[in-house]
């Protein structure tokens, strides 16, 4: 199986500090990889560096066979990467409709605003509301819808369950599970292990800016002691 994302020896940080200390990671086409790790391990930094929001010091990020390390975010986005960022970051002064329309460029036939509304009828009801008038769950839906409208090959999801009530997390999980078969690979950062295990085929664990473990989800779940050692939970 070919990989849609290949990260090699990636180093990055802020103002000279090193956060990513040689990250190696792959995401197979159509696969879902959960990226786990404690607070401050560097997960968001990795997501941002892949997206082009943070310029790496060195190393390689390949999308298929195209090198994108150091490219601007809009270039990376146009190569088929979309992000559902930590904290959702929907555009507060824009309505739901405007938040979606801004992402819906010309030519992305697979996903239209109408299709997002069909998938998330609740958003359709709220289409005239501003981003800052939505509940956390609605904002999360909007952030996912916005990313889908880019018709991505690779979806970067940074803690989509963060701060949501359990019932809402289930709803988000159903939605993401429903996307299987759409030909979208995903790198999923998640603290909620139930959600991560439900969605991911494989698990990668990050510690201090490096990937220290990689296995299939079932293999990872089978060894509770190791999971505990890696994550401090389980």
């Amino acid at each position: 199986m070919t990989d849609v994302l290949t990260v090699r020896e990636l180093r990055a940080g802020y103002a000279g500090t090193t956060v990513l200390d040689g990250v190696d990671l792959t995401v197979p086409a159509n696969g879902v990889v959960a990226l786990l790790g404690r607070n401050g391990a560097g997960k968001t930094t990795l997501i941002h560096t892949i997206m082009g929001l943070l310029r790496p010091y060195s190393g390689s990020v390949r999308l298929g066979d195209r090198e994108i390390a150091g490219a601007a975010a809009h270039t990376v986005a146009r190569s088929g990467v979309a992000i559902v960022p930590q904290g959702r970051r929907v555009f507060a002064p824009l309505t739901v409709e405007e938040n979606l329309r801004i992402a819906a460029g010309r030519g992305h036939q697979a996903w239209t605003v109408e299709r997002i509304y069909q998938l998330m009828p609740h958003l359709a009801e709220r289409r005239a509301n501003r981003g800052d008038q939505l509940s956390g769950g609605e904002q999360q839906m909007l952030a996912i819808g916005r990313a889908l409208l880019r018709a991505p090959r690779l979806l970067l999801l940074d803690e989509p369950s963060d701060g949501l009530a359990p019932a809402v997390v289930d709803h988000v999980a159903d939605l993401l599970e429903g996307l299987r078969g759409e030909g979208i690979a995903a790198l999923l950062v998640e603290q909620d292990l139930h959600l991560a295990f439900r969605l991911a085929d494989e698990v990668a664990v990050m510690q201090k800016g490096q990937i220290v473990h990689r296995s299939s989800t079932s293999e990872f779940r089978a060894d509770r002691a190791r999971a505990h050692a890696l994550l401090g939970v389980g």
Partner: protein, 291 residues
């Protein structure tokens, strides 16, 4: 009563001009945290362009409109160049210093070309006289400027609130990184806004010509007023720029008619009051989302 109305009208005319000038300053700051200190110089370039293009008196409306458009074009070019220069310069302080440098160079070139004296600019023909307002004669041109301000406010409202480009601008003010993560080249949006804002400032220089004329030092005065408007209204906010401009226009007009010696002082009192009560300005743009 009539004197009061005259003051209100003067304030509205000034407010209209300030809105045109402050808008670009506010949006550029909101989008890239850069205070474009060359904004006043661009305004002055527009005013001197009117001096160069318009005959001393007997200006026809067609000629005047042409001068406004020419100034807008020159402003847009200057703004585009400034956008390119600031984007190529990392660091907010360096960017501000760069615009300050450009402003000094432009102002110096203008005073070499046009001298140190005060140039008057004639109002265009059908509006160069006075109209009776409550028994007094009021300059017709100022009413035209007020009309222009109203049309501009509506046009800008429609552009910002109802068009796709407007939602792009608001989104970029709110979260520039997320906009670029959606595949949009925010540098282009920024250059467009920078150029449009500078075009408005330069056009404002022509429009203000018949009221304020053209002379060295006017760039700094106008920049300062525009900064006060932007700070009072809220950085990056279009509605804030409008409210701030109308407010400062009124304060200035009232000050000039009641306490001429303290008029500029009153403006800073108004700014200090707003900052004390609402540090983010009266109508700051919505950026933070509760999560």
């Amino acid at each position: 009563m009539a004197a009061y109305l005259v003051s209100v009208l003067n304030g509205l005319a000034m407010g209209s001009l300030l809105f045109a000038i402050a808008l670009g300053l506010s949006l550029v700051f909101g989008m890239m945290d850069v205070l474009n200190l060359a904004h006043g110089a661009i305004y002055l370039a527009g005013a001197y362009l009117a001096v160069a293009l318009l005959p001393g008196d007997d200006v026809g409306m067609g000629t005047f409109v042409l001068a406004v458009l020419a100034a807008a074009a020159v402003g847009a070019i200057l703004g585009g160049v400034l956008a390119g220069l600031t984007r190529a310069t990392p660091g907010h302080l360096d960017q501000a210093l760069l615009t300050l440098g450009v402003s000094l160079v432009v102002a110096e070139l203008l005073s070499v070309a046009f001298g140190e004296e005060v140039h008057a600019i004639a109002a265009p023909a059908p509006f160069d006289g006075g109209v009776p307002v409550l028994g007094e004669t009021y300059p017709a041109y100022r009413l035209l400027v007020i009309g222009f301000g109203a049309v501009l406010a509506v046009a800008v409202y429609l552009l910002i609130e109802r068009s796709r480009f407007g939602s792009l601008i608001r989104a970029t003010v709110a979260d520039r990184a997320m906009v670029s993560a959606l595949g949009i080249n925010t540098g282009l949006v920024l250059t467009g806004v920078f150029a449009a804002g500078a075009a408005l400032a330069a056009a404002g220089g022509v429009l203000a010509g018949p009221i304020l004329g053209a002379q060295p030092g006017l760039d700094e005065k106008v920049l300062l007023l525009a900064l006060v408007v932007v700070v009072i209204g809220g950085l990056g906010s279009v509605r804030g720029a409008l409210l701030g401009a109308v407010l400062i226009g009124q304060v200035q007009a009232l000050g000039t008619s009641l306490l001429p010696e303290y008029a500029s002082f009153l403006i800073f009192v108004a700014m200090a009051l707003v900052l004390l009560l609402r540090p983010a300005g009266l109508l700051p743009p919505r950026t933070a989302v509760r999560t």
